[in-house]
Structures are given as structure tokens and as C-alpha cells.
């Protein structure tokens, strides 16, 4: 989707170091080969600019430049959020024998460690189901891996980097998210690593556009829920984001950012809310004593929020017709908890469910208002709050559809929380 008609002819992509591979498609490198004046102008001056200009010269010349500007392995992109660190790692699969020989031991060891495990330490996890196979990136073919671990375990990660002599590889570590700023000095002092810090929203958008453009086989990256207002008939359906703009991008991490995206380089942060994934988990921990997101979700799936929330029908006996409010609508989140008896009769599961519903619906309302104010009809929800959280996704789909009378469409992306990290990786390969 990133290309949208301003991609250059295919033969320019052919000039590759790995001629054994067919060029995957015309969807590989968003923004890299473009010479659109607009995007040039938007790009800050940097070392990449002369190279990009030279891409207008002969094909041979450009192939050299690709080789020249291609950073050394390993290729990482990192997004250090308030709760989770998201890491994407590109594992080259087209390593020649000659290369293999040259490759330093440290590099091999890192590759082996990451690709042969699906869990790292106590809390690191590789989302195998999200792995992208046979991806051509910057002329190299390989697999893209998606790894996450809690931000509070960052010291352990740095320790590992130190043990594996990561710094000896002289790689640039592209990182985004607030933690890139907060922990910059820790990277330097603990692991002797220099971070290349990137803006999280730039990375997010870049990542979204890229992933959507490269996923061509397997489950569709973008999907929506059909019949969101009928629970029995509500099913997940693939969606093609061909002409995505304008688009409201709602990133639900610990907190929430809402962006209006008009083109790849033209977006604004409309607003945000502090009631996000962190609030859900934080409140659940306090209310139920749970300690992980998975636990909280599991409890929520078993609970009943209507015991906790006060519904319109609890007050009016049915619909509040004067204002077109259906009886099932929540009048007051946690409203029943004003009463002592009811506080004593609810279960932890009910409380978890109510917390999830409250946070999700609130994000839904704010999003809907932003969509109206910005006059945008398509909303893409991303962020790790939605990870394994079909409950929230269906609620959002429902809320968008119901309250907008079918005007708004809620879309979701499979790689929900990793786009920032992907954007950071792309920045490493193709500095904008």
C-alpha cells in the first residue's frame, strides 16, 4: 500500500546482490526508490540524500550504491514502550558460503540464539505466528522475526547484549518509543551501544504501511469483523487496504495515540488518552490481584460486566427513548459498585471484564469523535492492547458500527504491536 503508483519500474529492483532470487514483487521497499519531489523535500538532509539522488543514474551505479549503503548485519528494529519492548530481527537466509566464512562468531551466535528459541529468559517471547518468511529487504532475502519482552526486563536484555559482545559488531541500533530516550545512556554504559533514536509516530506509520504492503501470502494483514452488531454472525474477514488515505490510526499501547494519516509523510497526532492498555492492566492488577496481561484477559473472558456496570435499563427499566439510548447501553461504568451489597457480590472475573469493557468503549468513543471531527471513515486499530484480545476488537468493531450507524469501519492488523519496531528497522535500512 505504500506505493500507490509512484513506484519505479521493476528492472531497477533487479540489480541485486542475490540474483538467484526472483525479485519478490514490487512491494518491497516502500519509499526507498521513490524520487517524488514531495518526499524528497520532506526528507531531512542526511547522508542518505546523495545516494537517493544517484539512484536516478545508471542501473549499475545504483546497484553499487545499494551495496554501499546497506548496513552490516545484524539488522534490528526496536521499539521501547512504557510496558513492552518490541524487537524485530531480520534473519538473512541467503548467506553465501563466502559470507559465512567472513561472518564473525558473535553474529552467528546472536542469529542462532534468536532463531532457535521462541522464548528468551523468563519473559522474552518470539511471536512465531507473526514471522514473515522469505522477505526481501534491501536486496537480501530472509525471515523477519517478532520478539517482545517487558520494559522492566530491559536491564537483563542489555546484560545479554554485553555478554554476547554485541557492540563489537559496530552496528547501529535503531530504536524508537519513549524508552529509546529514557534508556539511551543505559545502552551506552551497560552494553556500549549507541542508539539511533527515532520518532515513534513516524516509525509507527512507516511500519504499518510497510507490513501491509509486503504481506501477500498467508492470512491477510488487515482484517475487519463482519456483522459486528450480531455476535453470532460476527466473523473476521480479510480487508485490502488499497487506498488507505485518509485513515485514522489508533495505537493502543500503555496509553493511546490517535493519528490522522493523509499520506505516508503527512499525518498529525489528533489526540491521545491516558486510558489505555496500561490502565486496563493496572486496574485489573489492583482489583483482582492478577499480574499479567494474559491473566487479566483470561479473567475478563470469564466475567460478566453487567454486574459491575449500571446499564440504562437499570435506571429506566428499559430504553431511554427520549434520547435514543438502548437499555443495554452502559450508563455508568462501575456504577453498580456504588452499592456495598453489589460490591460484595461481584467476582474478580466480573471486575476484569468491566475494566476491559470500560477502557475499550472509552477508546471507541474518543476515536469516533475524532473520526467525526477529522471527517475520516476508516479507522485502523493497532497496539499490543489488542494482542490476543478479540474481546476488545469485537467491542471496538461493534462500537464503531453501532454508534456511527454503519458509517465507520474498524480495521485491525495482525502485527498489532510491532509496527514501531518495523519502522525503526526500515529506518536502519533506508534512512528517510
Amino acid at each position: 500500500m505504500a506505493f500507490n503508483g509512484h513506484q519505479r519500474d521493476d528492472d531497477t529492483v533487479d540489480e541485486d546482490e542475490t540474483p538467484t532470487k526472483q525479485p519478490r514483487s514490487n512491494k518491497e521497499m516502500p519509499g526507498y526508490f521513490r524520487s517524488e519531489p514531495g518526499s524528497e523535500a520532506a526528507a531531512p538532509a542526511g547522508r542518505a540524500t546523495p545516494d537517493r539522488r544517484s539512484s536516478n543514474a545508471t542501473a549499475r551505479h545504483r546497484s553499487d550504491s545499494v551495496k554501499k549503503t546497506r548496513p552490516p548485519f545484524p539488522w534490528f528494529g526496536m521499539d521501547i514502550g512504557g510496558t513492552l519492548v518490541k524487537l524485530v530481527y531480520f534473519e538473512p537466509k541467503d548467506i553465501t558460503a563466502e559470507e559465512e566464512q567472513e561472518e564473525v562468531e558473535n553474529l552467528k551466535s546472536i542469529r542462532r540464539y534468536l532463531t532457535s528459541n521462541t522464548a528468551y529468559g523468563k519473559t522474552g517471547i518470539r511471536d512465531v505466528h507473526l514471522q514473515l518468511q522469505d522477505l526481501t529487504l534491501c536486496g537480501r532475502t530472509g525471515n523477519l522475526h517478532f520478539i517482545r519482552f517487558p520494559t522492566h526486563d530491559l536491564p537483563a536484555f542489555l546484560q545479554m547484549g554485553r555478554n554476547k559482545h554485541f557492540s563489537s559488531l559496530h552496528t547501529t541500533l535503531c530504536a524508537t518509543g519513549g524508552g529509546a530516550y529514557k534508556f539511551e545512556s543505559d545502552f551506552r554504559t551497560m552494553a556500549d551501544l549507541q542508539l539511533h533514536k527515532l520518532d515513534e509516530l513516524d516509525c509507527l506509520i512507516r511500519g504499518v504501511l510497510y507490513i501491509d504492503s509486503v504481506v501477500s501470502s498467508g492470512p491477510s494483514e488487515c482484517y475487519y469483523f463482519e456483522n459486528p452488531t450480531e455476535p453470532d454472525r460476527c466473523v473476521q474477514k480479510p480487508y485490502t487496504l488499497e487506498n488507505p488515505y485518509p485513515l485514522l490510526l489508533v495505537n493502543i499501547g500503555s496509553g493511546v495515540s490517535i493519528l490522522a494519516v493523509y499520506s505516508e509523510n503527512n499525518y498529525k497526532r489528533v489526540t491521545g488518552t491516558s486510558l489505555g492498555g496500561g490502565t486496563f492492566l493496572g486496574l485489573c492488577c489492583l482489583l483482582t490481584g492478577c499480574s499479567t496481561f494474559e491473566e487479566a484477559l483470561e479473567m475478563a473472558s470469564l466475567g460478566e460486566s453487567t454486574r459491575v456496570d449500571k446499564l440504562v435499563r437499570d435506571i429506566y427499566g428499559g430504553d431511554y427513548e427520549r434520547f435514543g439510548l438502548p437499555g443495554w447501553a452502559v450508563a455508568s461504568s462501575f456504577g453498580n459498585m456504588m452499592s456495598k451489597e453489589k460490591r460484595e457480590s461481584v467476582s474478580k472475573e466480573d471486575l476484569a471484564r468491566a475494566t476491559l469493557v470500560t477502557i475499550t468503549n472509552n477508546i471507541g468513543s474518543i476515536t469516533r469523535m475524532c473520526a467525526l471531527n477529522e471527517n475520516i471513515e476508516r479507522v485502523v486499530f493497532v497496539g499490543n492492547f489488542l494482542r490476543v484480545n478479540t474481546l476488545s476488537m469485537k467491542l471496538l468493531a461493534y462500537a464503531m458500527d453501532y454508534w456511527s450507524k454503519g458509517q465507520l469501519k474498524a480495521l485491525f492488523l495482525r502485527h498489532e504491536g510491532y509496527f514501531g519496531a518495523v519502522g525503526a528497522l526500515l529506518e536502519l535500512l533506508h534512512p528517510s
Binding site: 510496558t83 529514557k182 539511551e184 493496572g282 449500571k310 435506571i315 431511554y320 439510548l325 456504577g335
Partner: protein, 783 residues
């Protein structure tokens, strides 16, 4: 959501003290004549409304038939005190715990009412329906909450000046009252009950619930109770006011280490509410911190939604109400902060002084539709209303004694419908009062002291005005107590009735005097002064006519100013000339020489050499020398120049100010002596109208509708305002769209000091609105 004010199903948490004895002198007043009840029962408070009639004494003047028995009496006119019945709305607010006691009390005191129905609204109306019907024998008739709320809101916004305010926690005065914009629509009402309803109001009967949120007061209460094991809403707020949200919330700086510069998000912003409670040990969080975090979360969320709706509907006036707000400084502060943040200061959060009464007022109005209460103007009765409370007990010791008891609002139906003076340059920015004593602590202290000092004199005069009534002294004593109590309240809560001003202090005194049936303590003094002054009228006119034109102009102005020195309200004067039987000339000694403190006499003189004004509107001040020997000769000169004159005088008595009734008689008497005045009256070139006010000050945004009409019809092009109360305490800075002349003598040394002058300094302020006099201004020059 509509205010489905979570009914705490646990009333036992309140102390149910049924043995409470109600002080009937103070609450549920005028029950004997009450008709039309309405009740709004919320989660913890009940608001009762009823309409009643109040019988009180009014002073009337009646002219003697002078043609028949000229010599029979040396009195100018007859003063009689008559009983008059006026309509009053009573609103009482009390805790639900007292509801049964109150219903019993009402039943016992309710005589001869024809009322069969009681209008009810609020979440608790249903719960108490049976009790009300059984106790009062009235049928409970439920009204839609939102409709009541909006009706009530429209009513207070229209009828109560300084109803709306901005809350500023750290400012010198927490409450910044808004000037009453005559055009109250459209506005957004954000009602934060257990949920939130966002209502757009476009006209009296046109409103729409455009949105809402389930995260509201009930969420704060319910979730707060779960998290802190604290049951009561007020206690939760108390906890929150002591907490530190940064221990619980994940801030931008917790993620970034500092600010997120490129988005302008500062480090202290909350990135994720409760974000820290997911990572740290559960035991680490204090109740206070969690309550604070919750309060921020909910306030910010509501503020954000309100802003999004305001933006979508292009509305800039946003009022907040509901039990979540209800005068709680903590929530008013967080909501204000949130609105300010999300709109970058473009929208201000507005709150209402009588927010808690809106439902009851609305329900009452629903029931009173046949009387069409909206056709009248109503005024807040300062004597019978308790005023705005600050909830935090730390803030004010007076508070404690009152909390948990009763709060009252009384509104009098005004005889006349009040509107703006059509000649105000910008009605929406007009502020009558010159000094806001809420903001000016020094001035406040002085004036409160001044009014307290003057109280003995007022009491004495009140007693003296009713020599035939033996119990007058007793009543006067009650008046003293009441007014002194008001002054004490205002010392602690200057914002109780809106901005505190000299005008409001004077008006409160008048309301209290009326309350104890001292309708016109100055009636006899005024009568005597008028009588004496009339005797000098012809002599004064004659001596003026002997002067040259230019000398006369100055003498006329001096005459008005000298006459204005006689003012019983001013301490300096009443000390000096207790028996001001002197002629005008004797008093001129008081006046300072030119140049005066404010002196645009030369411009005025130049103007008088020019073409006559079409019509002059003259707001007059005192009786006696002032009106008869000062104002009337001036009026006479204007009439002679060909200018029509409209004399605007008070509808009801205030100090020694001449009332419309008195002025009618005086003018007739003068007309009998003076052909110019006589011709003016005959040809309808001199008109007497009432101002609609009973105050020694003047609010140009609340004037009699008839006056406004006359002003418009006659194409008034000159407004003259005379006297300290009308031209200095109020309207000193008033901008009019036509020429204006403000004349006063400063008879208070403190005020003189403030304005940089001395006692008896003269203010002569002649103003021409910009661009008005010269035609050149209308031709535009290319820039």
C-alpha cells in the same frame, strides 16, 4: 448519561436523625401560602421547590388634592404603608436523611393549599414516591430529568446575574463570575451524574443529547470504593485531594525520561492512567494516591470528550454540572484543568452557582407552565438565600456548622420584566460594578467594615421610620442580626452571591430591610426634604435665568453636583449636615474647585453650544435638594434647548433615592410653578419612567422593559447618570453607544483616596463614543 445519580442504597451510612428540629424561621418559609411543589431527589440530596406568596409592607405615596385644600396640609404628599403580595420561589436543599422529617414538617405547616400534585424528578423520585404520597397526600408526577435540568439551567442563566463562574484554584479569588450575556444560547451542558450526558441547548425548548460517556461520577465512586474501601463520595474526594497521582500513573517522563519534545507533550503528562500499578507491587499504593489518579483519569476523560463535542458542534460555552461537580473544588479544578489542556485555553469550563437546584427548578417550572413563569423576570433574594458554599471544610470554618443541614435559594418575581439598556456598546462585556470586591481584598475589607459600622445608624433610622409600631424595635433588631450575619458570611465567602460589590452589599441590605418589613426607612426624611426643597425651586430657577448662557451652564452643572452632596447613604454627609435644610448655595462650599478629579466640563460646554440632543435619558439619584434644585433646573435647560428628557427613577425605595412614585408628585408640583416643565409634560417631551430597580446602584443590563422601549422609540442620544452609587460604584467604566455624562461627588474619603482625590472630589465625565461625532470617520481611507 442522564443524572441517574447513583442512589447509595446504604442510607444507614448517614446518620438518620429524625429528632432534628427544624428552625422554621429560616427554612420552609412562607409554607402557609405555598402552592405548587416540585422535588428533585438525587443520590444524597433532596431539593424541594415551592411557589409561595409573601405579604410584605410597601411604602406608597399619594398626592393630596392640592387644588381643593391647598392650605389644609403643609405636607407635600401622603405616605402610606400598604400590604403587598409578591410571588416568591423557594428552593431548599437537604440531605436525603432528613426527607421524612421535612415531609412531616411540610404537612404540619401546609394550610389552605389547593395543590394536588407534586412534580418529581431525579433518580430517587421513584424510591421515595410512596413516602411522599403518603405523607403529603399529593400525587407524585414524574418529569423527565434532562428536560428539568435544561429548563432549570435556562432559568438561572437568564435570571441570576453572576450565575456562571470560572474556577481558578490558585487565583486570589477562586471564583471568577461571568457577566450575564443576554443571549444565553447556544451552550453545551455536560452533566456528570453517575454517567455523563452531553447536551446541546439551542433555545428554550430546543435541546438534544448529543453524546455522553459511561465514565462519570459513578465510575469515580464505584471504582474508588473498590480500590480504597472508602464508601462515601465525599470521603473519596477528600482522599483524592491528599494524594499524589504520579505514584500510580505512568507519566510521559516515565516512558521518555523527559518530555516528548516534538509533540509538545511535557514530561508531567499522564501517558497511562494506573500504568504504574501494573508493574510494581500492589502494596505500594496508598488510598490517597489511587483516589487522586482515578479523579484525574475521570476528569481528563470527561474534559476530553466535552472538548471533542464542543469542537464538533462549534460551541464555546460549556457548563458543567451534576453531583460529580456540585461545588466540589477538587473536581472543578480537575475539570477546568482538563478543558484548558485539551482546548489549549480556547474553551473555559463554566460552573453554576445554583447547579444543585437545576432539576428542582426545572421540575417546578414544568408544573407552573400555566402561570408562564418565563414571562417574568426573577431576582435572587439575598436575604433568603444561603449563597454558594465552598465544600472544603478546611477552607472556611463557617462551613462546618452549615454542612449537613440546609441550603436555600429564594427568588422574587419582579414586578417588571428586565432587559438591557439598548444603548450599551457591548452588552456581553458590560460589567456594572467598578470594583470587584471578590478580587480586591483591601477594598473588600474596607467596605465590609464600612457597612458594619453603618449598621447601627440604619437600625435607628428603620425604627424611627415606624414610630407608631411598637414592635419595630424588635424587628429592627432581627434585621441587624440578619444583615450582620450576611456580612460575616461574605467576609469568609465573598463569592457567596456572585462577585461581591458595593452594589451587592447595598442590595443585600435592602433585601434584609424588606424582609423585616422596613420597606422605606427614609420615607419621612425624603418627604421633608422634598417639601423644603420645593420651596426654593422658583427662587433657584429665577437666579439661574439671570445668568448669562455660559454662566448658567456652569451653574446648572454645579447645581446638580451640589445637590448630589445630600445623600443620607454617605457617612461623611450625614455626619456633617444632619439637617440639610440649607439652600443650594450654602452647600456649594463642599464642592472642590475646578479642575475636578475627572473634568471634561470644557468638552461638555462646547457640546452644549452645538445642536441640541434629540433625547436625554437621565438616571436620577436622591430626593430633595438633589432632584428638585439640581436635576430639575438642568432638565428645564435641556427642554428649553429642544431636547426631550426621560427621567428614570427607581421603581422601589432604596435609601433616600427618589422613587418613581415620589417623582411623579414632585414633577406635578414643579409643573404647577414652572411653565417649561408643564409644557414638557403636556407635550410629552418630558417623561417619567421607572428603572425597574430598587437599588442605590444601577445595573444597565437589568432595566425595565418599558424604559428600554422608550429609549429606543425616542432615539435617545444622551445618557446622564448621576450620583456615587450609579456613576462611580457602578457604570464608571460603562461604555455606551451614544454620548454620556456621568456626574458625581465622592462622598467617601476612602473611595476618593482610591481614585486619587479628596473627599468631595467631583467626577464630571463626559464621553463620546469613538467615531460618533465626526462624519469623517465613516469615510474610509485606503490603507
Amino acid at each position: 448519561m442522564a443524572e441517574c445519580s447513583g442512589i447509595d442504597s446504604n442510607p444507614s451510612s448517614h446518620t438518620m436523625d429524625k429528632s432534628i428540629t427544624l428552625p422554621p424561621d429560616e427554612i420552609f418559609r412562607n409554607l402557609e401560602n405555598a402552592k405548587r411543589f416540585a422535588i428533585d431527589i438525587g443520590g444524597s440530596l433532596t431539593k424541594l421547590a415551592y411557589y409561595s406568596t409573601v405579604q410584605h409592607k410597601v411604602a406608597k405615596v399619594r398626592s393630596f388634592d392640592h387644588t381643593a385644600k391647598e392650605a389644609a396640609s403643609d405636607k407635600l404628599y401622603e405616605i402610606s404603608v400598604q400590604e403587598e403580595v409578591t410571588a416568591r420561589l423557594h428552593f431548599i436543599k437537604f440531605e436525603n436523611a432528613y426527607i421524612e422529617t421535612c415531609l412531616d414538617f411540610i404537612k404540619d405547616h401546609l394550610v389552605n393549599t389547593e395543590t394536588k400534585v407534586i412534580k418529581a424528578t431525579g433518580g430517587g423520585a421513584h424510591k421515595f414516591k410512596e413516602l411522599i404520597e403518603r405523607k403529603l397526600g399529593l400525587k407524585v408526577d414524574k418529569e423527565d430529568e434532562m428536560t428539568c435540568l435544561i429548563k432549570g439551567c435556562n432559568f438561572v442563566l437568564k435570571n441570576i446575574p453572576h450565575e456562571a463562574f470560572v474556577y481558578a484554584k490558585h487565583a486570589d479569588s477562586e471564583f471568577r463570575f461571568q457577566t450575564t450575556n443576554p443571549d444565553i444560547f447556544p451552550y453545551l451542558l455536560v452533566n456528570i451524574g453517575s454517567g455523563v450526558s452531553i447536551v446541546k441547548v439551542e433555545a428554550e425548548d430546543k435541546f438534544e443529547r448529543i453524546g455522553g460517556s459511561s465514565i462519570g461520577g459513578g465510575t469515580f465512586w464505584g471504582l474508588g470504593a473498590l480500590l480504597t474501601k472508602t464508601k462515601r463520595f465525599d470521603e473519596l474526594l477528600q482522599l483524592a485531594s491528599k494524594g499524589q497521582h504520579t505514584n500510580v500513573d505512568m507519566l510521559v517522563k516515565d516512558i521518555y525520561g523527559g518530555s516528548y519534545g516534538c509533540l509538545g507533550l511535557t514530561g508531567d503528562l499522564i501517558a497511562s492512567s494506573f500504568g504504574k500499578s501494573a508493574t510494581a507491587d500492589k502494596g505500594d499504593f496508598s488510598k490517597e494516591d489511587m483516589a487522586k489518579s482515578l479523579l484525574h483519569m475521570i476528569s481528563n476523560d470527561i474534559g476530553q470528550l466535552a472538548c471533542l463535542y464542543a469542537k464538533l458542534h462549534n460551541l464555546s460555552r460549556v457548563y458543567f454540572g451534576g453531583f460529580f461537580i456540585r461545588g466540589h473544588p477538587v473536581t472543578m479544578h480537575t475539570i477546568t484543568y482538563s478543558i484548558n489542556f485539551f482546548t489549549k485555553g480556547e474553551v473555559q469550563a463554566l460552573f453554576l452557582r445554583h447547579e444543585g437546584y437545576l432539576g428542582a427548578i426545572g421540575a417546578f417550572l414544568k408544573g407552573a407552565e400555566e402561570d408562564n413563569p418565563n414571562q417574568y423576570s426573577w431576582g435572587e433574594n439575598y436575604a433568603g438565600s444561603s449563597g454558594l458554599m465552598s465544600v472544603s471544610p478546611d477552607m472556611n470554618p463557617m462551613q462546618r456548622a452549615r454542612s449537613g443541614t440546609f441550603d436555600m435559594l429564594e427568588m422574587d418575581r419582579l414586578e417588571r420584566q428586565l432587559v438591557n439598556l439598548p444603548l450599551l456598546q457591548d452588552p456581553s462585556s458590560y460589567i456594572p460594578d467598578t470594583v470587584d470586591l471578590t478580587e480586591d481584598a483591601l477594598a473588600r475589607e474596607y467596605w465590609l467594615y464600612c457597612f458594619e459600622e453603618a449598621l447601627d445608624g440604619v437600625v435607628k433610622r428603620a425604627v424611627a421610620s415606624q414610630p407608631d409600631m411598637l414592635e419595630a424595635a424588635l424587628r429592627a433588631e432581627k434585621f441587624r442580626q440578619k444583615y450582620r450575619h450576611k456580612l460575616q458570611t461574605l467576609r469568609h465567602q465573598p463569592f457567596a452571591y456572585g462577585s461581591l460589590t458595593v452594589r451587592s452589599l447595598l442590595d443585600t441590605r435592602e433585601h434584609c430591610l424588606n424582609e423585616f418589613n422596613f420597606p422605606d426607612p427614609y420615607s419621612k426624611i425624603k418627604q421633608r426634604e422634598n417639601d423644603v426643597a420645593l420651596k426654593y425651586y422658583q427662587k433657584a430657577v429665577k437666579s439661574l435665568e439671570e445668568l448669562s448662557w455660559e454662566e448658567r451652564q456652569f451653574a446648572l452643572v454645579r447645581g446638580v453636583l451640589a445637590g448630589n452632596v445630600f445623600d443620607w447613604g454617605a457617612k461623611a454627609v450625614s455626619d456633617k449636615c444632619l439637617i440639610p435644610l440649607c439652600a443650594q448655595t450654602d452647600c456649594v462650599v463642599f464642592l472642590s474647585e475646578r479642575p475636578w478629579l475627572v473634568d471634561s466640563y470644557n468638552q461638555w460646554l462646547e457640546r452644549m453650544k452645538g445642536p441640541p440632543h434629540k433625547c436625554a435619558l437621565f438616571f436620577v439619584d436622591n430626593s430633595g435638594v438633589d432632584i428638585i434644585l439640581g436635576v430639575m433646573p438642568f432638565v428645564r435647560e435641556l427642554l428649553s434647548r429642544g431636547t426631550e428628557v426621560v427621567l428614570a427613577s427607581n421603581s422601589g425605595p432604596a435609601l433616600n433615592d427618589v422613587t418613581n412614585g415620589e417623582l411623579q408628585i414632585l414633577t406635578e408640583r414643579i409643573a404647577a410653578m414652572d411653565p417649561v416643565i408643564q409644557a414638557g409634560l403636556r407635550d410629552d417631551r418630558l417623561m417619567l419612567v421607572q428603572s425597574g430597580s430598587s437599588s442605590p446602584c444601577l445595573d444597565l443590563s437589568r432595566l425595565d422593559k418599558v424604559l428600554a422601549m422608550v429609549v429606543r422609540e425616542r432615539q435617545t442620544d444622551l445618557v446622564i447618570i448621576e450620583g456615587m452609587g450609579r456613576a462611580i460604584h457602578t457604570n464608571y467604566y460603562a461604555m455606551l453607544s451614544c454620548e454620556s455624562l456621568k456626574m458625581a461627588v465622592i462622598k467617601n474619603s476612602w473611595l476618593a483616596d482610591r481614585l486619587g482625590g479628596k473627599l468631595f472630589s467631583v467626577v464630571f465625565k463626559y464621553e463620546v463614543p469613538a467615531g460618533k461625532p465626526s462624519q469623517d470617520c465613516e469615510t474610509s481611507t485606503p490603507s
